[in-house]
Amino acid sequence: MSEEPVDVVVIGAGAAGAAFAWSLAETRMRIVCLEQGDWLDPSTYPTTGLDWEARRFGDFGLSPNGRGRPEDYPVNDTGSPIQISNFNAVGGSTILYAAHFPRFHPSDFRVHSLDGVADDWPLDYAELAPWYDVNAEMMGVAGLAGDPAGPPKEPTLPPVPLGRMGDVLARGFDSLGWHWWPSDSAIATVEYDGRAPCINLGPCISACAQGAKASTDVTYWPKAVRAGVELRTRCRVREITVGDDGLADGVIYYDADGVERHQRAEIVVLACNGVGTPRLLLNSCSARFPDGLANHSGLVGKNLMFHPYGMVTGIFDEPLESYKGPNGCCFISQEFYETDRERGFVRGYSFEIVRGMGPGSTALLGLANGSVPWGAGHHAGFAELWDRTAGMVAICEDLPEEVNTVTLDPELSDSDGIPAPKITYRLSENSQRMLEHSVARGQEVLEAAGAKQTLVTAPLGIAGWHLMGTARMGTDPSRSVTDPWGRCHDVRNLFVIDGSVFVTAAAVNPTNTIQALALRTADYIKRNLATLLD
């Protein structure tokens, strides 16, 4: 069934698709966004019930393979020590993200020039900075000006509270003379743009019932829809179609009733994340593109980057009240962010303080490490652990390697029969060394803060939530999939605006940069509309 043609079709309503659609809406072009998930009802979110911790292992789990939601597609990630985490809904993975919202550093765009590894980006920090600023206004970023670890910026909102736990951990960083600074957090710490202020529910990564967290269903999308963007939910795209002229001419998708439809469009925009986007390109084969659409370089699906995470948890003697407050947003340390070759690796990592656990997660942690046994010693073991845990994750910069890939699984498919992605990934020696360094430093600082014991998990297996590099941008068509604006070298009306275009990964959460890049691409299209397809 064929639809009336539109000017632009955007695939995916997450972080990037929302920002892009909102920005482009001012052109008054007809823009349709196809999203395989649906609008969610915050009154059903986990923190509205007593079972909020258990639902992290159920319908609000991180892995699409265990959630049991019909809108999800399966991912074969058995070939990776890090498993894929995503979410399919209006808002995409921002529904579950921690809202930790740092910017890249200038050096992140010049990795090859400075450190002789990977490639430089075809843009620099200064070029992206104005789009970070726009995004900060739209998402609402809490923080504190004056951080010496990055270029100056002005947060739009007061920082999230440190809480008692933050004070205790900061003590450790201070005693070692290490950098720390209140997190840049996409959380409304005061009422902002119609959003209620944060009330410290705790598990931002199980969605925010309060609406304080800046998921794009409550930030960009209401504005984009009011501006005329049509958002069609429960629509799963199977492939991008190409005309005789070699241009993309639309997409084939299954609607909410499972009916196959063909949406024609002048411009096609991919915003499906670093796994979904290469999956769709590889599923879009034709005589002109037998190895997948826009894949003459052979790089679609290659150079997959995660952020390998090292998690270090400290057990303290004092109550920390660490189950209160945004669990991924407290403070950051970038003491080890920039390259120091004496450490035995290039590039670096951030420490992101992670607040403690609720009672259920505490008990399960104790079950896993043997400190909360079943039977007669149960209550004594739990009392030793409850409200005494706090720690951090080290977010390590991954470097691009062509052996780390997203391909199509030969057997696995989704409920519409569309081949599912298969992940093949291994940690590089550089990443492994960095991880080891980070957890050793993490243990050191937690002990300095007073931890009597530390627990280490590295790499953190569930932490495949930053998906980058699988349709990288660049100026050389033989070494990149898109140009510096996210436009595919091979198909000039096809754009990629998600983390797939990242050249390198930096060592911070990528959402802010993904959105800044999407806004920049939208601006490029707006400024060049008259000649875009010449």
Binding site: L50, W52, Y125, A149, P359, H378
Partner: protein
């Protein structure tokens, strides 16, 4: 009176399961914390079984093995053993049903610590986090003066960085 015939576990199985739960998490000696078997967690396990998870065969297999072990010890059932004898049987059942105790532990711990009586026992409000939320101290930002005093930490690239 409710009709239990459609529930995953017959009443004798449910009784056995409750005794197992009380062995995994017994009441605390000071009486502040209840045992897991007394909290209705069997019904929660049944709901998980009904939702289509793979839990039911694991639990059924474990209960069958436990009953057999109890009979070998001269008791009619696991629940018929005295409380001191039960832990040894749960240790032993792993040979016959290796997934039983580990799987049950996960669901028991998760279910126990979301129960209002348990939250009250921990001194927590017996409610969901939303909509009241929690107050949180701002914390001490004074030490950041020292951090700032170190000066710029980010690396120059020789371009128009800032």
């Amino acid at each position: 009176m409710s009709d239990d015939s459609s529930r995953p576990f017959a009443s004798d199985q449910a009784q056995e399961l409750a005794a197992v739960l009380d062995t995994l998490i017994p009441p605390s000696e000071d009486g502040r914390m209840p045992g897991a078997g007394a909290l209705g967690l069997v019904r929660r396990l049944e709901e998980i079984c009904e939702a289509g998870a793979d839990l039911r065969p694991i639990l059924e297999g474990g209960l069958t093995a436990l009953s057999a072990l109890a009979r070998e010890r001269g008791a009619g059932s696991f629940a018929g053993l005295c409380e001191d004898e039960r832990p040894a049987l749960l240790e032993a059942v792993g040979e016959h049903a290796p997934a039983f105790v580990p799987t049950l532990l996960f669901h028991t711990y998760a279910g126990y610590y979301q129960h209002p009586k348990v939250l009250e026992g921990l001194g927590l409000p017996a409610r969901a986090p939303f909509p009241q939320g929690y107050p949180l101290e701002a914390g001490d930002l004074g030490p950041l003066e020292r951090v700032q005093a170190r000066g710029r930490l980010w690396r120059e690239t020789g371009e128009s960085d800032a």
